[in-house]
Amino acid sequence: MSVSVGNPSLARAVSRLVAALLALGAFAAHAQLPAKPAAAPTPPPSWQQGRSAEQEKSTLHPFAIHVTGKPAKELPVDKLKVPAGFKVEVWVDGVPAARSLALGDKGTVFVGNRQAKNVYAIVDRGGKREVKTVLKGLDTPNGVAFRKGTLYVAERHRITRYDGIEDRLDNPPEGKVVIDNLDPSKAPGHFWKFLALGPDGKLYFNIGAPGNIVMPNYMQASISRVDPKSGTLENVAMGVRNTVGFDWHPQTKQLWFTEHGRDWLGDNSPSDELNVVTRKGQHFGYPYCHQGDTLDPEFGKNRSCAEFTPPALKLGAHVAPIGMRFYSGKMFPAEYRNNIFIALRGSWNRTIKQGYNVTRVSFDDQGKPKMQPFLTGFLVDEKADPPMWGRPSDVLVMRDGSLLVSDDHNGIIYRVSYGKK
């Protein structure tokens, strides 16, 4: 504040008055000041967020993967089961944290992961498979997608492209950024991304909710797409807590996706979901409504489930559906055509564990989906800690029609085939 007055005594009076007013103002401000607020408490670990008071003593916890992997020979892989006529075998081991799978034009299988920094490439030479580390030093490179010679990788914060990589796996090209700044907050939460190329040539990816059950911001809890040519970004689906697997129906070209429901609502609630996007921008309920019919005890108070798109199929509580692909191959029997295979990587958030298998979803004459286990044997003891020795995390249909299944817990990829092959 500056006061400009010619007369010195008047100036003194004015300055005293100003000082008095300031003091009064300061006093008034002080009088209105609340008691010093208590420091905000430390938040609970992200996986515990949303527990009720009764669940405070719960011993349920997520299971950590063996990031260094386990050799298949140390594991009960002979306990894996597939329907009659099918065969399951270890395709390759020693692929640390193997999760998302993408198939190159020339048959290279690219493997992304959530916990490591590398992207791996598996080259099959006459039945002998070699694991190459093709990209290093990335941040949560979970998403991998391939089309027309280009590998796209979704990290925590950006998507990059590697043109012509399949011809130079030992000397990969520098990545070119397609889109950046997808994770400005750098906070705990569902920050790893699944990536796939749509029939429209655009890159589709998730931005998960920043916690178990919290209000997402405008770009979180969504499926978005970016045009790799123009860089234009759009929302495709909202209210999606976290999806880390999606694919397009080979005939209808509609986008189907798996979604993880929230934790800590009990052993049997809510169900994880299989969803289909029939209109761009649809809202699938999170955090207000779960499984299409269950309002959230906190966020659902002023909402109705009728406002949101319900799931096409309930997959079971806490089963953690990850990768899903439509079966477009020709090796399996005809009734498997256009079925969906889903890798169930959970459950942990229920006292009696379920899931830990690859589930088949088929459709009846009315197009109604139904599910049945397809590849089982990972779950050993539903009450044990841990209850399983392996965790299916993605599926990939190969050109010969066989199905690859990644297991990030052990860093192994299995192959399911049918008939003599």
Binding site: P41, T42, H61, T68, G137, P188
Partner: protein, 192 residues
């Protein structure tokens, strides 16, 4: 005669303890015999969950976690080496902690460990589980350095939970926690 008897007993004790695999020989130079460190800045590995050890080795090799001593040590290890080292050290019996928590820090330390959710992941007795380290009886200076690193967001963090938890710790809290945790005794070796 006495010396001979003593060396006989020492030999018996050495036979009873598991032989140090060749791969672990460089580790025990700093981390102590059987992974029981006697250096306040050097973490004990004995009785740590195997998944914690293998994951940290992996993160050192991959450059996620950085340390002038450990990064080069891990750089030549294969994943199988890491699994083997993790299995060996997780089998070793943790020594009874030689650190004595200051009496005034015992109850405060426990309160801090509960208020800041340490016990939720590291377990009620701070013994660790899966990929989450045992804190009970760990070297104090090492604990202090890690907590300061998490607070400064410079320490590798798998999922952000430790960085998030450390933000509200004051420097004094970190001192108390390190003092409290370091003085905790693990379970009797026979239950391990």
């Amino acid at each position: 005669m006495v010396a001979a008897a003593l060396s006989f007993f020492a030999a018996c004790a050495a036979l009873a303890a598991e032989e140090v695999p060749r791969k672990a020989e460089p580790c025990v130079v700093c981390h102590g015999p059987g992974g029981n460190s006697t250096d306040p800045g050097m973490p004990s590995l004995a009785g740590q969950p195997a998944q914690f050890i293998s994951m940290q080795l992996y993160m050192f090799r991959e450059g996620n976690r950085k340390d002038p001593q450990m990064s080069p040590m891990a750089s030549s290890l294969s994943n199988a080496d890491m699994n083997e080292l993790a299995a060996y050290f997780s089998r070793q019996k943790p020594a009874v902690s030689s650190h004595k928590t200051a009496p005034e820090n015992a109850a405060t330390g426990r309160r801090l460990a509960e208020r800041h959710y340490c016990v939720q992941c590291h377990g009620p007795a701070l013994m660790g589980q899966q990929h989450i380290p045992r804190l009970a009886g760990q070297q104090r200076e090492y604990l202090r350095t890690q907590l300061r690193g998490f607070k400064a967001s410079t320490r590798f963090d798998m999922d952000g939970n430790m960085t998030s938890a450390a933000q509200l710790l004051s420097d004094a809290d970190i001192e108390i926690l390190a003092d409290y945790l370091s003085g905790l005794d693990g379970p009797a070796p026979s239950t391990r």
